[in-house]
């Protein structure tokens, strides 16, 4: 693909893990308008995952409006999140702001006595006026302990993009985990929200492999956080956990590098990395994983015809893009044009990037108008993008897969490999099925 002359390349990164073998094009670093969600949106799945936690955003009407627009039609009348909207009078003096926050929290906790963990979530306005939510959390914690824990993290758009909100939440949560003794039994922490059904599948596999001291972060309840110490190893289930990883390492835990568990290959490599770290006998590993691998391969076969040879373009959204691209190119036979990601975390993605074809354009960050120009030029068969871009692309005759669904659907592990391919095949099949013109 030739690039238009107008394209800006602010810097060419040549770190060793960026360009594995010669031919890889330099990574495009883009600045400009980012058509992405802020980290607050991750609350939409986090509040369902952790059932005794309440997420209180301290922000503006925009934050509240974002949450309800992104959350769409909520059939449950009362979600476990809310916004404390900063008003004109709050902006006049900071001391007042803390009192106001205390009053809001008191009202909220009175209304929801079942809440065990209150999470204060920073937003752009609260960050810009430098409202210290960590200090507020400490203060409120003293007041409401031991019945309620109060913690704080930032989900602001100026600091976090979409799934990075989960990263900053997990980093804070790791701080809350108890310390494991230096001589504690080896343990495995799997970091990154997974659908409950996926978590259960992985639990069964780890058990069959003989790795029995396994905890998933975030936990389903706030009072069941795992102990972390020098004998803890952690595996990332999601690629967007930069800060959480750093915090786990700071607590003494060791990272197990691996592919992400997407598709048959990714899941096997991910499980293998854990097995090797825990000294699981290769024969046992093969025996335990064989049925799952077989099922995953079989499930994928039925999508090969739809996906094989089709070219796909990824707009940045969740940081899942490189791992998804790897899965689609290697297991579904798709061609890659551009793979955009809001951030490319080189260390966590090293193995993924090694497996991507050399001619793919990797881009980090966004300048949306220019990226749309490139997309038109690449003329892909399928575009992965957010909801602000999807219908406009469809109206121009492109097939799109809206990317948010990839975060809200169980896609990891063997049993979901077929479902994951289906998500990409569905828009193509639908286009083929519809006989109406737009």
């Amino acid at each position: 693909m030739s690039r238009p002359a107008s394209q800006t390349i602010l810097s060419n990164t040549a770190a060793p893990c960026d360009a594995p073998a010669g031919g890889r094009q330099p990574i495009l670093h883009q600045r400009g308008q980012h058509e992405v969600f802020c980290g607050l949106t991750s609350i939409i799945w986090l509040h369902r995952k952790m059932q005794d936690a309440f997420f209180l955003i301290v922000g503006s009407r925009t934050c509240a409006h974002l949450m309800q627009s992104a959350a769409g039609v909520m059939i449950f009348a009362e979600p476990r999140f809310a916004t404390a909207i900063i008003e004109e009078r709050d902006l006049s003096g900071m001391a007042d702001l803390h009192d106001e926050l205390d009053a809001v929290v008191a009202r909220l906790l009175k209304r929801r006595p079942d809440i065990r963990m209150l999470v204060l979530v920073g937003s752009c306005p609260s960050e810009v006026i430098k409202l210290d939510l960590s200090r507020a959390a400490e203060r409120l914690n003293r007041e409401h302990a031991p019945d309620r824990r109060v913690i704080a993290y930032s989900g602001s758009g100026i600091e976090t993009t979409f799934t990075q909100g989960e990263d900053s939440f997990l980093a804070t949560l790791v701080e809350e985990c108890p310390a494991a003794e230096a001589d504690a039994a080896p343990s495995l922490v799997v970091a990154g929200s997974l659908a409950d059904v996926v978590e259960d599948q992985f639990s069964r596999i780890f058990q069959a492999l003989g790795i029995d001291n396994v905890a998933f972060l975030p936990t389903r309840r706030s009072d069941r956080l795992p102990a972390i110490g020098p004998n803890t190893r952690f595996l990332l289930a999601q690629p967007f956990l930069n800060e959480a990883s750093k915090m786990l390492e700071r607590r003494g835990a060791t990272h197990i590098p691996a592919l992400f568990p997407l598709g048959e290959e990714g899941t096997t490599a991910w499980l293998k990395a854990a097995s090797d770290a825990f000294g699981v006998d290769p024969a046992r590993f093969a025996a335990v994983t064989a049925p799952g691998r077989e099922r995953a391969r079989k499930a994928l076969e039925s999508y090969a015809e739809t996906l094989s040879g089709k070219r796909i373009f990824f707009f940045p959204d969740s940081q899942l893009e490189p791992a998804l691209a790897r899965f689609l190119s290697r297991e579904a036979g798709m061609g890659l044009t551009e793979v955009g990601s809001p951030y490319l975390h080189r260390r966590h993605l090293a193995a993924e990037l090694d497996l991507l074809p050399e001619d793919v354009v990797l881009s980090e960050g966004q300048d949306v108008e220019r990226q749309i120009d490139r997309c038109h030029e690449a003329d892909p068969d399928l575009i992965v993008c957010g909801l602000g871009l999807a219908n406009p692309f469809e109206a121009k005759g492109y097939a799109t897969k809206w990317s948010i669904e990839l975060v809200f659907t169980p896609i990891q592990g063997y049993e979901q490999a077929g479902d994951l391919a289906e998500l990409f095949a569905r828009p193509l099949r639908r286009r083929a099925a519809l006989k109406v013109e737009v």
């Binding site: 058509e35 802020c38 974002l66 004109e88 709050d90 702001l97 306005p125 758009g157 600091e159 219908n391």
Partner: protein, 534 residues
């Protein structure tokens, strides 16, 4: 600080966005942090637009704050003008950008762009979406119509008007204007400009040519219309034609301004509501208690239709449009209820529980509340979700709008015969009042299996729990009010159909309190019934 789970309106810059997205040839450069682009999907998803809204966001990040965010804004302006070549640009700040005070208006003017720049000052921490839309529209109208002369009218030319107010993301605006245009055309009135929807800045310069202005949505266009009246002496048609009576008044008002005889337009067979409401089948609608909440325009119109055209009883009326609180208060007085002027959905929920309505007419939020309380509900006002941007023709205004309203408000209610049968035979294992109207599919599912039936009953008890929680002094209070009911009286109460049972309970307890009865028996229940029947 205000604790908010759901908000009825977005921030004011979303109002400005709606104006920009409504119009042609206008581009909006919005100084905003990364993430505020979520607003795009209101247009691309909820309204299912085929194009991206004409907005360029600066999407600054934390690392930009240490540098020159003003430079970022200027660059975004230059690029937007170059790429999109608009007739005019709107420039403004979102709530976060308002805090860093880069002065988008001043910066854009200093750039010397070759298109008109309309700077917007929208105080995000005080105002909300509709205000933002009204202010933006006013700024645009003033900017493009201001300083012009009212053109001479040609001899013998028909009377002409502007239609002001319809916007992107407006509740049924797309079809309302079709209906209103049809009305005006049938009267022989020329339509000069419809704005902001589908108008360009150039069109706005032609606004002064009209004889008068029709304001369909005062929340959006009142400010601009008032200015046009002052500047060009254009009278304002203030009747919003929602409902049969309002439509007829609207026709008369327009006819008078245009000097036209309205008889022909009024003699129409397009109105089916009037006959449907008179037909004996609608008899059972008489006095049904209805709670109404929404923006002021739709709430006022709904209250009138409910009382005067459908024969309901308004048992609650409210709005989140603080600017129109006075109108709602006056109307509430007229209907003998307390107005609910609040943008806190918990207040509204409390008022609904208190009022014990048999039907709720509200927004998307009231749909959730009504679902939880198991009260039939229809949506009459924004905020709405994707299902209220229907593919079919579904106006609220004019005679066809009234037809749409008749169908959609009556639909959620239980049908007459079923209601009678439920009152007579209370122990049918399939058709009992816990299951709701049997023509509604979602509720029908509850009949299907025992498990779901139990779920439906559990939901109902959620209503009773909510009622108890919200009005602790009348129901289930710690001093044992609930225990005042004898078992027999409690049983007899259960024989009253569910949708009026709450009201009966409260009336009986009130009667007991007033007459000093300590233990409520079957006698008390019927004494109260007779008492309140007066």
């Amino acid at each position: 600080m205000q604790l908010t789970v759901w908000t009825y309106e977005g921030p004011p810059h979303v109002g400005a966005l709606r104006i920009a997205a409504s119009m042609k040839g206008v581009h909006y450069v919005l100084h905003a942090p990364q993430g505020d682009t979520y607003a795009d999907l209101l247009f691309t998803m909820i309204e299912r637009r085929r194009t991206r809204p004409p907005v360029t966001y600066t999407t600054f990040q934390a690392r930009d704050l240490g540098k020159d965010t003003a430079e970022l804004f200027k660059e975004a302006c230059r690029e937007a003008v170059e790429r999109f070549k608009p007739q005019a640009i709107l420039v403004g700040a979102s709530c976060t950008a308002e805090l860093i005070q880069d002065d988008p208006g001043g910066l854009a003017k200093a750039l010397g762009l070759d298109v008109p720049v309309v700077p917007l000052e929208l105080p995000s921490y005080q105002r909300k979406e509709n205000w933002g839309a009204a202010e933006t529209f006013y700024r645009l109208v003033r900017g493009f119509a201001g300083g012009r002369e009212k053109p001479e009218k040609e001899e013998g030319a028909p009377a002409s008007c502007n239609i002001l107010g319809p916007t992107a993301l407006g509740f049924r605006n797309r079809d309302d204007i079709v209906e209103v245009k049809k009305l005006l055309t049938s009267l022989g009135v020329d339509i000069n400009v419809v704005a902001p929807l589908d108008a360009s800045p150039l069109d706005l310069t032609r606004l002064p040519a009209a004889d008068f202005n029709v304001v369909l949505y005062p929340e959006i266009a009142e400010t601009a219309a008032t200015w046009l009246k002052r500047e060009f002496g254009q009278p304002i048609v203030r009747t919003v034609p929602i409902g049969v009576t309002a439509t007829r008044e609207f026709i008369r008002e327009v006819a008078e301004l245009a000097g036209i005889d309205p008889t022909e337009a009024l003699d129409t067979d397009a109105d089916r509501l009037s006959w449907y409401a008179r037909s004996v089948d609608s008899n059972y609608l008489t006095g049904k208690r209805v709670f109404i909440y929404g923006d002021a325009t739709h709430a006022l119109a709904a209250a009138r239709i409910a009382e005067e055209e459908l024969g309901f009883k308004v048992c609650g009326l409210g709005t989140y449009s603080f600017n129109f609180a006075r109108d709602i208060t006056a109307a509430a007085r007229h209907y003998g209820v307390e107005p609910v002027i609040s943008d806190d959905h918990l207040d509204v929920e409390e008022a609904i529980v208190e009022a014990h309505p048999e039907l709720v007419l509200g927004t998307q939020m009231e749909r959730n509340t009504a679902k939880r309380l198991r009260i039939p509900c229809a949506v009459i006002s924004a905020p709405v979700h994707v299902q209220d941007f229907p593919a079919r023709y579904a106006p609220q205004m004019g005679f066809e709008g009234a037809n749409v309203i008749f169908d959609s408000w009556v639909h959620p209610l239980m049908m007459g015969l079923e209601e009678h049968l439920l009152g007579m035979f209370r122990e049918d294992f399939e058709f009992h009042d816990d299951t709701g109207a049997s023509h509604l599919a979602a509720v029908n599912a509850a009949h299907g299996s025992g498990g779901q039936g139990v779920a439906a009953r559990a939901e109902q008890s959620a209503f009773e729990a909510a009622a108890a929680e919200q009005t602790p002094d009348t129901i289930d209070s710690p001093d044992g009010t609930a225990a005042r009911w004898t078992t027999e009286a409690e049983k007899e109460l259960k024989k009253i159909p569910f949708f009026v049972r709450g009201k009966a309970r409260r009336n009986t307890e009130r009667f007991a309190d007033e007459t000093g009865v300590n233990v409520i028996t079957i006698e008390t229940l019927y004494d109260a019934k007779a008492h309140f029947a007066r």
